[in-house]
Symmetry: C2
DNA sequence: GTTTCCACTTGATCTCGGTCAAAGCAGCCA
DNA sequence: TGGCTGCTTTGACCGAGATCAAGTGGAAAC
């Protein structure tokens, strides 16, 4: 598992064009290459515990990780979904503010924090890129606040499906009837934790969307979206939201 | 109103030690001073409309502003509260992702975006400080996701009160019985928009907290917290949360 | 083959917060 | 002084989603 990424050159990296190292020039990339190493995690494993010292930062290369906060009585809220190319860690901070968990098997490209921070002060490209990525995350978090605070259960499910579709999907039949097909990377419980619902409600609403023809389910995880516009309407988003079919 | 800040030197600025310009050295500060200007807004005024071109960035000097997202059918969610020293704007972005509104009368210290961005590429202090502030905002947004997704109405109110208390309060009687006293800067409706509730529910829960002695109200806005620990328990936060009385 | 397990579905009931409606209350203008 | 106007409180009722409780189905284990 680990070997499949070891010794990979950065310019062959599948996520490089979206990750923090995008737009780095050749010598910057070499510096990064010197301090990087890969780590693998199995589904369910906790990558970082809330409050832990974090001695590395890095990017998700494959798989899905999640950021979760938990109250003493066990109520949990997922506060972020990390897909390939997303950045993990806070340069300049010592301890993690929430748990990071591997939702599926995950491979990460890691940098020890100190050398990375040093590099960041020297290479404005990286600092700039990191600021842009952080601003994107902030926008995503705030968009999610609207979902959590004001949307109905059905709208929440539709919102989650369209977010996953947007980042994770492959287009099936091309052309005008461009269906979107993907596998849900989350259990019903994980979806519930992301959406601020119970898993029963998630299940019921998915059944309802299926009954109404908004989605097509094969098995429990394989989803087809016959009409992305319809799904976005169900999500309550402005008609297009910059989404490209 | 405007005149009271015009021509002020940065090193006399009341919010300077917390704002984006903190830790700048003298010549950096002079550069900022060259491109800064003040703008005032009245309570209720919209500072930036969602989707607008943003040609400036800046810091809140006094007053309170809020970031809000609105759905087509009118449901609105406040996604951020900007207190003095908080930064407004996204270097490197053209259009605003949400409305910025003056909740009270607001004075802002603005910089035209282009010169600020240029300055940022030259002065690592500012870029670094901005990244740190953005990471703080991200943490705050994610903490709020837990509030929106998993807390009860009573816990939501208690959470909001303790956040305002933390940043906005003055300590009354010093010593062991350190009461905390402040004026609510938000209407019941604005609180509801922040908490994902209706204004009626906000009103009822405030009445309940008052009845139970968690808070003391004089009039509708003046709040005394006799026991901050008690309030934080009601908010469902971990006992101390790093809060210092 | 069948047992077990786990993720999921479905049903019955309850409850918290939303909705609708009516006052209360302070500041403001005439 | 009196009536507006806008913010707030309070009450009565309702419903979306939570809770509690079976039941289903498919894949791995024996």
């Amino acid at each position: 598992m680990k070997a499949q990424f070891d010794h990979t050159n950065c310019d062959e990296c599948p996520i490089r064009h979206r990750a923090v190292c995008a737009h780095c020039d050749v010598d910057e990339l070499e510096e990064l290459e010197d301090i990087k190493y890969y780590r693998s995690f199995e589904a369910g494993q906790t990558i970082i515990w809330s409050g832990d010292q974090m001695n590395f930062v890095g990017s998700v290369v494959s798989g899905i990780a999640s950021l979760t906060q938990t109250m003493e009585d066990g109520r949990t809220q997922m506060v972020g979904l990390l897909l390939p190319s997303d950045f993990v860690g806070r340069p300049g901070r010592d301890s993690a503010p929430y748990d990071v968990q591997a939702t599926t098997d995950v491979v990460m490209c890691c940098f020890r924090k100190k050398p990375f921070e040093d590099l960041m002060t020297l290479t404005p490209h990286i600092a700039h890129r990191l600021l842009q990525m952080t601003l994107d995350e902030l926008d995503a978090a705030r968009e999610w606040m609207l979902v959590l605070g004001r949307k109905t259960a059905r709208e929440k499910i539709a919102s989650l499906l369209s977010i996953i579709a947007r980042r994770d999907a492959s287009v099936g039949q091309k052309g005008m009837s461009g269906q979107i097909v993907f596998d849900l990377p989350l259990t019903r419980e994980a979806m519930a934790d992301y959406l601020g619902l119970t898993l029963e409600t998630v299940s019921r609403q998915i059944s309802a969307l299926k009954r109404d023809g908004v989605i097509v389910l094969e098995g429990k995880r394989h989803v087809t979206i016959p009409d992305m516009g319809r799904l976005m309407e169900e999500a309550g988003d402005d008609s297009d939201g910059g989404f490209l079919i």
